[in-house]
């Protein structure tokens, strides 16, 4: 149940963000990223679904330009529900960076982690309201 990890990859398979909610070793992480990229990049994104089986769980992913946003959830979770989490995340990034692009995520990776932390805590979705989440993020900035 819940999200097991969230990963942002670009088309070349380079990692842009990785948040693991279960402790796994660093070599396993690397292997996982490789497998995910292989699984997802080969898919036709217009004609194929956004769900892929991965080991004993399911990947829910969406592509925005050159970036893949990938969630890993367990088999009994609601795929459609979690698929909606990705646009929520992207919309928030988009509002925050005022038109987000890959470079924003690369250079401000620590901010992206913080934003993600406002949406998901320990693999559980903590809020689905875009404005509330954005307000919380702005509050941070004011504080810093």
């Amino acid at each position: 149940m819940a999200i097991q990890f969230i990963v942002i990859l670009n088309r070349q398979g380079r990692l842009r963000l990785a948040k693991w909610y279960t402790a796994i070793g660093e070599s396993q992480q690397r292997q996982t990223i490789k497998t995910i990229h292989k699984l997802i990049s080969s898919r036709d994104h217009r004609k194929q679904s956004n769900f892929v089986l991965f080991e004993n769980s399911r990947l829910v992913y969406k592509r925005y330009n050159g970036l893949f946003f990938v969630l890993c959830i367990s088999l009994e979770d609601n795929e459609l529900g979690y698929l909606e989490v990705i646009p929520l995340f992207v919309e928030i990034l988009d509002s925050y960076f005022d038109g987000v692009c890959e470079l924003d995520i690369v250079f401000n990776f620590y901010k992206v982690y913080r934003i993600l932390d406002e949406i998901v805590v320990g693999g559980e979705l903590q809020d689905t309201n875009k404005t509330t989440i954005l307000n919380r993020i702005y509050a941070w900035d004011k504080f810093a």
């Binding site: 149940m1 819940a2 097991q4 990890f5 990692l15 842009r16 963000l17 990785a18 693991w20 909610y21 279960t22 402790a23 796994i24 070793g25 660093e26 070599s27 396993q28 992480q29 690397r30 990223i33 036709d44 004609k47 194929q48 679904s49 956004n50 769900f51 892929v52 080991e55 004993n56 890993c72 367990s74 009994e76 609601n78 795929e79 459609l80 529900g81 698929l83 909606e84 690369v106 250079f107 990776f109 620590y110 982690y113 913080r114 932390d117 805590v121 320990g122 693999g123 559980e124 979705l125 903590q126 809020d127 689905t128 309201n129 509330t132 919380r136 509050a139 941070w140 504080f143 810093a144």
Partner: protein, 991 residues
């Protein structure tokens, strides 16, 4: 060395961290095309960071840590800097602290960082209790990511305090983080749970939602603890408009409904209502999932099922692949409950088999089992088979198939307009199959599926076995290029199975096998490539060669040819045994087979079959042989001895032993033949050597091989409570012996009076009579002596029925043969019903489809009922389950926590749920209070909704039920035990 790298090295001190990080990222980006340079650059950067960390300046340190957190993404193990992270983490400046937490989450979350975490505990405590809510929230998410068992121990109390924090976003995070604590330290759950549940009444909706999330996760691990919360949760579901929370609530209810089936009555109408009113597709999907996963759908809930099926079909018709996929998953679940209802829509669902999304294709394989029937199996198999064709050639084939599909679609459209309930189906846009290059793994799945659906229920769906044989041949042929050895083995096993069960196909099968093993068009390399399948094929040739000679070979689809010319061709084309042995002797590769896995087993099968064929040849010649016959037999014998010689020095003992034994036997036969030839002199024919006709050939021909249910052995297990040591009745043995004596006398009488009638049968089965040894039976038997012919026949049939079920039945060779024949007769009558139906169907079928053929299928010895077959399959399932996913959250600890046990304050939750329930007074009082409380809270809402009154009742009920639950379980166990015993009885009573 590139100048930019030098620049990085010479970077001046005191640069602001943004710049430093930026130059690092830029440096990486510049080298991203050249992996060698990049690796060197990363190594240098890390080295530099290491040096920089020696600096005491916290500002600089935090900058380095941030860089390391970035570099960590490139797959470096950074745990060496744990202590520096802690330093930064404990800085009074928020800027630093923030970086420290980020790094801690990214770097310390890995295993083996317990030391660092221990040192972190104090700082976490401090930050959790900080007056600054942002620091506090930082600490909470830090805990949620890195928590270990020790940390959970130490910090749980502090987190719980935060549940009452003034800021809702802290409360919300605290609830979620507590779940992580429970995971690591399950024993804390009984102590803290009440406070978590209180958050269901939090004024802030997002806190409530988070709490539902946590309870949902907890209930997933151990639902029975949370059944008592149902009324409250139910109220939440009705009041909220937060779809995400409703999704979680539905998931929660489906867990609860599994342990408390009575919830269905209340939940199902509400979920159905929700499903029909909401616009959110994810919610509709969750409703369906909740109903299916929560076991809320029975076979008599036809209306709800129809509703679900219609909703799902709606999903299906949308062109959205995502909806299609989830819908397919839901259909797979529905299939298990309502096969018939789904079958109506089989056409739409089967179109998934050739969907352009491979994931959907693969998933749909799971549903095929339920949808396939005698009528559509040919198209289904064609759809599957075409995917095995090499990519380049696929499209041409598919064009033909798609054309047919279009015709089919229009035809169906015209035909079915008068059938109202299926109009919907016609509206579905037909899809055409496109060529797809598939992976070997998927290919294997497809082949497995083909075999599975065809052999399902003793080949019930196969319209014509010649067609099926053609399919299998195609699979073998398509597998020659892209070699997957398992497939050959699977197919040859399937061929064996068919040859045993379906007598009518044996001739064609042997023909196929001869082609595969000795065919002129097969080069030696081809045959070696097929090495995994050889064993089965050569066995079939040896075992069923006689059927091959006797039967005419029907070439499946081309059966329209004139029969008479065909038969002629057959006799001309049929390979004779000397030809086969000849070919065998020329195949030098056989000795090399032991280079392959199980190759020795193949050689064994070759030896056995060659010798068997020799026996068959002798039998076919009859009892009197001409001089010519003697010559050929002798030649054959010599050839075999020569052929066997090459295996007499095999390194494999079994092969060696088999070869040596058969060589010796062959030499004996050789002597006998030579001897007989001497006696032949001038006469035209002479009696065949006795050792061959009534010795050697008997070895292979005396008893036919029969299909045996593979669960037969497992089914017979000794019931646990069956005591075999004490005698039930002291006198039983003496009574039994006297009864036996009577029966034996009786047998003798019958044998005499009914001359040939089944003399062997009776001899063969004294055990049967022991069973029937009651007085009345005895009378019955004497009745037969007054012999009404019908009576005899009836009894004969009865006996045969019984023998069919009798796994312990051991007979002498002759008797066995008779029984097999008898079996065939009964089977014929059974089968004719089946074929009659198929003939009726046949009239309405289209000409291009495969013709159905009346065929006898032998039943398995020991029955092939599903309970028997399910034994090995469940075993397989459980072994699959054991493969744990390393990403899955391990909530096994939570499963042992029992919130309702009396010693919940002590916190010792382990092993409680296995213990007996002792309802003590204190607990009863507690329950009463809980009920009262629930009643009150529900009453508040009752003004709005009269329905809630019901929920009070359910609440009361459910509380009681949780108490009873363990007992119930036991009862169920007993039931299932007794059920098992019953099935044993069925078997045992016949013994």
């Amino acid at each position: 060395m590139p100048s930019s790298q030098m620049m990085v090295r010479l970077q001046p001190f005191g640069i602001s961290f943004d710049q430093s990080l930026e130059s690092l990222i830029k440096g990486i980006r510049e080298r991203s095309k050249d992996s060698e340079k990049l690796a060197a650059f990363l190594d240098d950067s890390i080295k530099e960071c290491k040096d920089d960390l020696k600096d005491a300046d916290l500002e600089k340190k935090s900058m380095v840590i941030l860089k390391l957190a970035y570099l960590e993404m490139y797959g470096y193990d950074m745990s060496w800097c744990s202590f520096n992270i802690l330093e930064v983490l404990s800085s009074p400046k928020f800027q630093h602290k923030r970086i420290g937490y980020l790094a801690a989450v990214q770097i310390l979350q890995r295993q083996n960082n317990d030391d660092a975490l221990m040192l972190m505990t104090n700082q976490l405590k401090k930050d959790l209790n900080s007056s600054n809510s942002i620091e506090c929230s930082l600490a909470i998410s830090g805990i949620a990511s890195v928590v270990s068992t020790e940390l959970a121990h130490d910090i749980g109390g502090d987190l719980v305090r935060l549940l009452n924090h003034s800021k809702p976003f802290i409360r919300k995070r605290a609830v979620l983080a507590l779940y992580k604590i429970f995971l690591k330290y399950p024993d804390s759950l009984p102590m803290l749970f009440d406070q978590v549940v209180d958050k269901l009444d939090d004024p802030d909706t997002s806190v409530v939602s988070a709490t539902v999330n946590v309870i949902c996760e907890l209930a997933h691990a151990n639902p029975k603890n949370y059944v008592s919360l149902t009324p409250r949760l139910f109220g939440l579901m009705k009041d909220t408009n937060n779809n995400w929370m409703v999704i979680r609530l539905l998931k929660l209810f489906s867990s609860l409904s599994l342990v408390e089936p009575r919830l269905k009555k209340k939940l199902l109408p509400e979920i159905v209502h929700l499903m029909c009113t909401t616009d959110a597709l994810s919610l509709v999907y969750e409703c369906i999932n909740a109903i299916l996963n929560g076991n809320m759908l029975d076979e008599d809930d036809v209306k709800v099922t129809e509703l679900i099926v219609n909703k799902l079909l709606g999903f299906f018709k949308s062109d959205d692949q995502n909806l299609k996929y989830v819908c397919l998953l839901a259909f797979i679940k529905t299939c298990r409950i309502h096969k018939e209802l789904i079958r109506k829509h089989s056409k739409i669902l089967l179109s998934c088999l050739y969907d352009n999304d491979l994931t959907i294709r693969e998933t749909s394989l799971e549903i095929v089992n339920y949808l396939v029937s005698e009528d559509n199996i040919v198209t289904v198999i064609a759809r599957l088979l075409v995917q095995l064709i090499p990519y380049d050639e696929q499209q041409a084939r598919l064009d033909d198939m798609n054309d047919l599909l279009v015709d089919d679609y229009h035809e169906e459209g015209e035909k079915e307009t008068d059938k109202l309930d299926e109009v919907e189906e016609v509206n579905y846009p037909y899809k055409t199959q496109k060529a797809v290059d598939i992976s070997p793994k998927y290919k294997l799945r497809v082949v497995e599926k083909i075999i599975e659906i065809c052999s399902m229920k003793s080949y019930q769906n196969i319209p014509n076995f010649d067609w099926y044989l053609g399919v299998l041949k195609d699979v073998i042929r398509l597998n020659t290029d892209s070699k997957i050895p398992v497939i050959d083995a699977m197919i040859s096993e399937q061929l064996i199975d068919m040859s045993i069960r379906v007598p009518s196909i044996r001739a064609a099968l042997v023909e196929t096998c001869i082609n595969l093993c000795f065919g002129a068009e097969m080069s030696e390399d081809d045959i070696i490539k097929f090495n995994k399948g050889l064993k089965g094929c050569i066995w079939i040739i040896g075992e069923y060669y006689t059927d091959y000679l006797q039967g005419s070979i029907d070439e499946g689809q081309d059966s329209d040819d004139d029969d008479s010319t065909k038969e002629q061709n057959d006799t001309q084309l049929k390979a004779t045994i000397p030809q086969i042995v000849d070919r065998l002797a020329s195949q030098k590769f056989i000795t090399k087979l032991d280079n392959f896995d199980e190759g020795n087993l193949t050689i064994l099968a070759y030896i056995e079959s060659a010798c068997k064929l020799f026996g068959k040849y002798c039998t076919l010649l009859g009892k009197f042989w001409s001089r010519e016959d003697f010559d050929t037999v002798l030649k054959l014998c010599n050839a075999l001895i020569k052929w066997l010689a090459q295996f007499c020095l095999s390194t494999n003992f079994e092969v060696q032993e088999r070869a040596v034994s058969f060589t010796e036997i062959m030499k004996l036969l050789q002597d006998a033949i030579v001897q007989a030839m001497k006696e032949l002199k001038e006469s035209q024919t002479a009696e065949a050597p006795n050792i061959i006709v009534s010795g050697y050939t008997q070895m292979f021909e005396i008893s036919a091989i029969k299909p045996i249910s593979n669960a037969l052995q497992q089914r017979i297990e000794q019931p646990l409570d069956l005591d075999l040591t004490t005698s039930i009745d002291e006198n039983a043995m003496s009574t039994f012996i006297s009864e036996l004596h009577n029966i034996q006398e009786d047998d003798v009488k019958i044998t005499r009076e009914n001359d040939s009638f089944d003399a062997e049968m009776y001899e063969g089965q004294p055990d049967l009579h022991q069973e029937n040894s009651s007085e009345s039976d005895y009378n019955d038997d004497t009745h037969i002596q007054g012999n009404s012919k019908q009576e005899i026949d009836r009894r004969k049939k009865e006996r045969e029925e019984m023998m069919k079920e009798d796994p312990y039945y051991i007979t002498s060779g002759k008797g066995k043969k008779d029984i097999t024949n008898g079996n065939n007769n009964t089977m014929d009558t059974q089968d004719s019903i089946h074929t009659e139906q198929s003939i009726r169907k046949h009239k309405t079928r289209k000409p291009r489809k495969v013709k159905k053929k009346k065929v006898l299928i032998l039943d398995e010895e020991g029955g092939n009922d599903e309970t028997a077959l399910s034994v090995p399959s469940t075993e397989r399932k459980s072994s699959v389950k054991k493969k744990q996913n390393r990403f899955l959250v391990d909530s096994s600890g939570l499963r042992n926590i029992d919130l309702q046990s009396s010693d919940k304050i002590s916190g010792d939750g382990t092993g409680n749920n296995t213990g007996e329930y002792k309802v003590d007074d204190a607990e009863l009082a507690e329950v009463a209070e809980l009920r009262k409380k629930l009643a009150e809270t529900s009453l508040d809402q009752a003004n709005k909704d009269n329905n809630m009154l019901l929920s009070i009742n359910t609440a009361a009920d459910t509380v009681q039920v949780t108490r009873k639950k363990p007992k119930k379980k036991k009862k169920k166990k007993k039931e299932s035990n007794s059920h098992k015993r019953k099935s044993h009885k069925n078997v045992a009573s016949i013994v």
